[in-house]
């Protein structure tokens, strides 16, 4: 069958709402868009553990230390599940797990803007858990019905664990909000630091060419702006009810359009930071990731020599 005919049949399947499996025929364009998207998602989970892991040794109580440690572990686990999906998608293109990871050092894959930023106080750890995870949950939940079934199955598991992350983040910021003036100020300062990054997180309001194609393939169904609006509707009232101020004097809900109006972040500045890895913490965290990957190469080699001994023997 010629490829044009196959492509048309594939699009018919997509339009009928059918799910695509790894072994099904798919256009190269679909495979490459998905691969890039899932690789970025997976790599962002891994790089996303860095700003929080910095707080594991400094967490204020043992319970907080255990909580944030399990979150870091979950993020790494999500990275592994996603890279498995990416690996399988990339196999026909000769892409390996090794490459999916080393692409971080060579700058061939990007990770989310929020993970390039510093987390100088415990309140930053709280705001990451509350709002950065909140934003990530909005985007991930919007993908649960994605046309690529192996991705959808993994997202389902990830979202189940994110429900713990939501409670974990809220618990940290609630303690600070209930606390002393200094603690409340620390929370406000952290919110001020993160706000622009949070707005940027969802991406520019214009629909890019690749986003348009991903929507055609039903890889994703919502636009950046739709997701940002959902996030604002859900979180702005909660931020305000804690007595915090959103650091954007223009932010308001326009009743006539039914949409939030907000100050545009510096798209150019944040875009450059993600593209060139020039955020405040980009290079430091990439260096740590490289060190982990290269420093543990001997473990991966040793594992290839391990023999199949059943556990417990």
């Amino acid at each position: 069958m010629d490829s044009e005919r196959l492509h048309e049949q594939f699009m018919e399947r997509i339009r009928r709402g059918e799910k695509i499996e790894a072994t099904d025929w798919m256009p190269d364009d679909y495979r490459k868009l998905l691969l890039k998207f899932i690789q970025m998602h997976g790599v962002s989970e891994i790089m996303g553990a860095f700003p929080e892991k910095e707080w594991v040794p400094k967490a204020p109580t043992l319970r907080r230390k255990l909580g944030i440690m399990s979150k870091v572990q979950d993020e790494m686990g999500h990275g592994q599940l996603l890279l498995r999906v990416a690996e399988e998608l990339g196999a026909p293109l000769g892409v390996t797990r090794e490459q999916l990871i080393t692409d971080i050092f060579t700058g061939r894959t990007k990770f989310h803007n929020v993970f390039h930023m510093a987390s100088p106080t415990w309140a930053d750890a709280g705001v990451i858990g509350w709002l950065v995870d909140g934003a990530a949950i909005v985007s991930q939940a919007a993908l649960l019905d994605t046309s690529y079934a192996p991705y959808a199955r993994v997202l389902k598991r990830i979202c189940a664990e994110e429900s713990f992350h939501m409670q974990h983040g809220e618990s940290i910021i609630l303690s600070l909000a209930e606390g002393t003036q200094a603690q409340r100020q620390m929370l406000q300062d952290a919110l001020n630091r993160w706000w622009d990054s949070l707005i940027f997180f969802f991406g520019p309001p214009e629909i890019s060419e690749s986003a348009r194609r991903m929507m055609e393939y039903r890889i994703r169904e919502k636009t950046n702006e739709e997701l940002r609006q959902k996030f604002l509707s859900r979180y702005v009232p909660r931020i305000r009810s804690l007595g915090l101020t959103v650091p954007d004097p223009n932010l308001h809900f326009d009743e006539s359009t039914g949409k939030w109006v907000y100050t545009q972040p510096d798209w150019e500045k944040f875009g450059r930071m993600v593209r060139d890895n020039t955020g405040p913490k980009s290079q430091e965290r990439i260096a740590l990731r490289r060190q982990a990957h290269e420093g543990q190469a001997w473990v991966r080699e040793a594992m290839t020599r391990s023999t199949a001994v059943p556990v417990g023997v």
Binding site: T23, G77, L81, E88, R97, E98, T304, V309
Partner: protein
């Protein structure tokens, strides 16, 4: 050593978790590992950070035999099979009524037994 050179040594393993003794193993996902024992460890770390379980199987992906997705005829039900199902006998309840009895379901029997005595 680069993992690249180890290609062919690392394999995808499909992971099946048995959550309790009265349940069958359930497929939950896959891991990439160099041996079955490492795959078992990775499976525990990836899939059982919270849930309790009693057993894990890992099976090398290339050892799994599967039906193709593009042959739906394999799963075709050519005609109505309600004679095989409970809902094919929904009229029993109405007919028992004439004999002043209610429909009996397997859950009622299970409940009887759970009451003990």
């Amino acid at each position: 050593m680069q993992l690249k050179e180890a290609e062919g040594l690392y394999h995808p393993y499909e992971v099946f978790v048995q959550y309790d003794h009265l349940a069958h193993h359930q497929h939950v996902g896959s891991v990439l590992a160099a041996s079955p024992d490492i795959a078992l460890q990775l499976a525990r770390e990836n899939f059982l950070r919270r849930d309790k379980a009693v057993n894990i199987w890992v099976v090398r992906k290339d050892h799994i035999h599967a039906t193709p997705y593009d042959v739906p005829e394999f799963f075709a039900n050519e005609f109505d099979k309600d004679y095989r199902r409970v809902d094919g006998y929904a009229d029993n309840a109405r007919r028992w009524k004439a004999f002043k009895q209610k429909a009996l379901h397997i859950e009622d029997i299970v409940n009887d037994l759970e009451k003990g005595g």
